[in-house]
Symmetry: C2
Subunit: 401 residues, 2 copies
Amino acid sequence: MTQPTDPSRCDADVRMRGFSRRSTVEAASAWLDAQLQPLAAAEVPLADAAGRVLAEGITSGMDVPGFDRAMMDGFAVQAASIAGAAPYNRMPLAIVGQALPGRPFVGTLASDQAVRIMTGAPLPAGADAVLPAEVADVEGQRVFAQGEVPPGKNVGRRAEDVAAGAVLFSPGRRLRPQDLGVLSSIGMSTVRVVRRPLVNIVLTGNELLPAGTPPHGHQIADANGPMLSALTARDGGIVNHCAIVADQREQLLTALARECDVLLVSGGSSVGIEDHVPVLLSEQGELAIHGIAMRPSSPTGMGRIENRLVFLLPGNPVSCLCAYDFFAGRAIRALGGRSKDWPYRRITAPLARKLNSTIGRVDYARAKLVDGRIEPLSIGGASILSSTTRRRRFFDCAGRQ
Amino acid sequence: MTQPTDPSRCDADVRMRGFSRRSTVEAASAWLDAQLQPLAAAEVPLADAAGRVLAEGITSGMDVPGFDRAMMDGFAVQAASIAGAAPYNRMPLAIVGQALPGRPFVGTLASDQAVRIMTGAPLPAGADAVLPAEVADVEGQRVFAQGEVPPGKNVGRRAEDVAAGAVLFSPGRRLRPQDLGVLSSIGMSTVRVVRRPLVNIVLTGNELLPAGTPPHGHQIADANGPMLSALTARDGGIVNHCAIVADQREQLLTALARECDVLLVSGGSSVGIEDHVPVLLSEQGELAIHGIAMRPSSPTGMGRIENRLVFLLPGNPVSCLCAYDFFAGRAIRALGGRSKDWPYRRITAPLARKLNSTIGRVDYARAKLVDGRIEPLSIGGASILSSTTRRRRFFDCAGRQ
C-alpha cells in the first residue's frame, strides 16, 4: 500500500482502497456513447416545439407564398405601359380597383389600368410590377406615374420564401423560434420530435434532510436533488421522480426498478461499507463502469438495468455536478436528440499558473478568467459546492493524455 | 418627392411616404431603456427557480457544513497520538465506535482511541484528524496506524463551504443549477425572484390564417404568432394571450386594453391606409417612436398605454423577428431582470464581400460564417423567413455610424 503523495490535495472521492482499476474518462465515455441512441419520435403541437429536436426531416408540400404579391404599397401595373414615365413625363393610368392582403382584385388588368395595392396583397392578373406610391400622383380615378418600373419590380414571387419540395430542415434540428414560424407558414400544426428522456433521481444518505429544510444537528440539507433536477431540465430531460431513499436494500431496489430512461443515483457510489448501490446494480443489471480516473468524481459508476441507463454519482456535490456534466448530462442530451457536447461556452486561454495533475487522470478545476488568463480557484474540495457558483463554469484544465 | 436610388433593394418595410422622420436605432433604444425597470419580486419554490433572476441578494444564515466532518473513509484520531507512525512503526489505537453520516459517535475520543469514520460523518469530539483506511490495519478491536497525519488532515471544517454571514449571491443573479444546490444547502425552500413579464401578442392582417392552418387561396398562415411566442418564452416572458385580431378599430381597442406588461402587435405598424394601430396607440396612450432608421424593420413603433409597453412590429416575418430582437426582446429580458444584451453568441470577423448600407441606417443582414469570414446571404427580402433558418443567427454587418 502506498500513501497518496499529498492526501490533502485529493478530495474525498479519491479513495485508494477498493477501486483496483479505474476506467479512463475516454473509455467510460466510449462505453456510454455506445448506449446512446435518440429516443423514439413523439408528435407535439407546434406551439410546444421550441427547443425540441426534429425526429424527421421536413420537406415543404407547398409554395410560400402561394401567389405573387406586392412588396410595397402602390399601384399594380403592366410595366410596359409606363415605360419612359418620369416626373416631367407623367403617364396616366385608370384606377380600376384595389387589392388588399387577403382581399384580391377580381379581374384582369389592361395595359392602361392600375390597381391600388397594399404590401402583401396578391398581384392582380395582368399586372407584372408595382409602382411605389411615392412616385404615383393620384388625381380622382386616375394615377399618374412619375417613374417607370421594370417588370417584376416590387413583386414578391410565388414560392420566393419556400418552394414546394424544398427540404426545410434535417432530422436532428433543434427548433428555434423562427423555425416555428416557417413550419407554421407551411401549415404544420404538429411536428414529430425526439421524445424527451424521463429521468428519475434517487438521493441516498442518512445524513440528508429534504431540499429546503434548514440543516440542524449532524444532518445536512440535500443540495443534489435541486441541482440535478435543474440540470436535467436544462439538458432536455423530464424529471419523473426525485426523492431521498434510505440506504437500505429494499428501498433501493424499488427505486432501481422504477420505470424511466435515465436513473441518477446520488451518493453511496463508492466502495465503502455503506455503498450498496454498485452491488445492487451488478445484481439487477450491469455495472459496466465503476471508478474513473478523474478528479473529482472518481467513484462514479455507470450501467444498465433493462432499458434504463443508471448513473452512480458521488454524493459530494461538486463531484456530483462534475460526474453529471461528464456522463449523465451527455446521456440525457443525446437521448433527447441534442448534441452530446457541453452546453457551455468553450474558451482556450493560457493558465495563469501551473496546475498539477497525475498522468492518465483528467482533472476538472474550477477557474476564473482574469485578464485573458485562466486562474484556477484555490479551493479543491469536492464538497465546496459554493466554489462552482463563483464563476460561470468549469474548465478542463490539465491531465488529459 | 424622391425616388429611392434602387427601390428593389429596399424591402417592403422601407416606404418613403409617411415616415417624415425616422428615429435612429440609438435614439429608439435610449427611449426604450428609460422605460425598463425590472418588475417586482415574486416568491417561488426553489424547484422552480432555475433560470430565474434574484430580486434580492442572499446572505447565508448558517454555516455549511454545520460541523467538522471526515473527508475520507478511515479512523478519527488525535493526530498527536500517532506521530511517528510508519509501516515499520505501526502504532495501535483502540477502536471505540463508529461515526456515519447523520449518525455521529457519541462520546469524546481519548488519545489512545480511534473511531471508525465514513466520509461525511461528523468528526467525534476529541479527534482532530482522519487516518485514511488505506494506511490503517484493523486487527480485532484495534487499528494500527501505518502512517502519521497532521492535525486537521482529511477533516472538512465547519463552514468550509458556506460561512454564516457570507454573501452568496447578489441581486440580479440568474440562478444556475448549482446555485439551487447551494440555496438548498442553507435550507431555503423558496426564493424571491423578479416576476416574469406577461406578454400579449396581437396578430393583425386580414390575409392571416391561424398558425398551423394549411394556407389556401390568397391567404397565408400566421408565422409570427408561433415565432413571437417562442421568442417571448426564450427571453423569460410568459405568453398571456396570443390571437389574430381583425384590422378593425373595436377589436384592436379591446386588444390594446387587455392587461399585460408587454404588448406585441404584429402587422399594421406602418403608415398605410390600413395601418390602424399607430393611430390607436396615439389615442390611447403614447406613440413615442414610429419609424426607425434600420433595414429591415423600419416601420417599427413603440409606445405605452398606462403600464403596458407596446411594440408595433412589422408583419413581414423577417422584419418582425428583427424588430423583436432589437426592441421587444430587449424589453422582455430587462423587465424580467435579465441582461438586455442579445442572447446570441457574438463574433467579430471580416466580411467576405462588401455590404452596402446608407449612412445613418443600421442594416441587419443574414449571414453565414465561411472559413472565418462572414458571407452575407444574398436574399434581402423581409418576407423570406426561411432565410433566417439557414444559419444560426443575424449579424450586425454595416451602416452603424
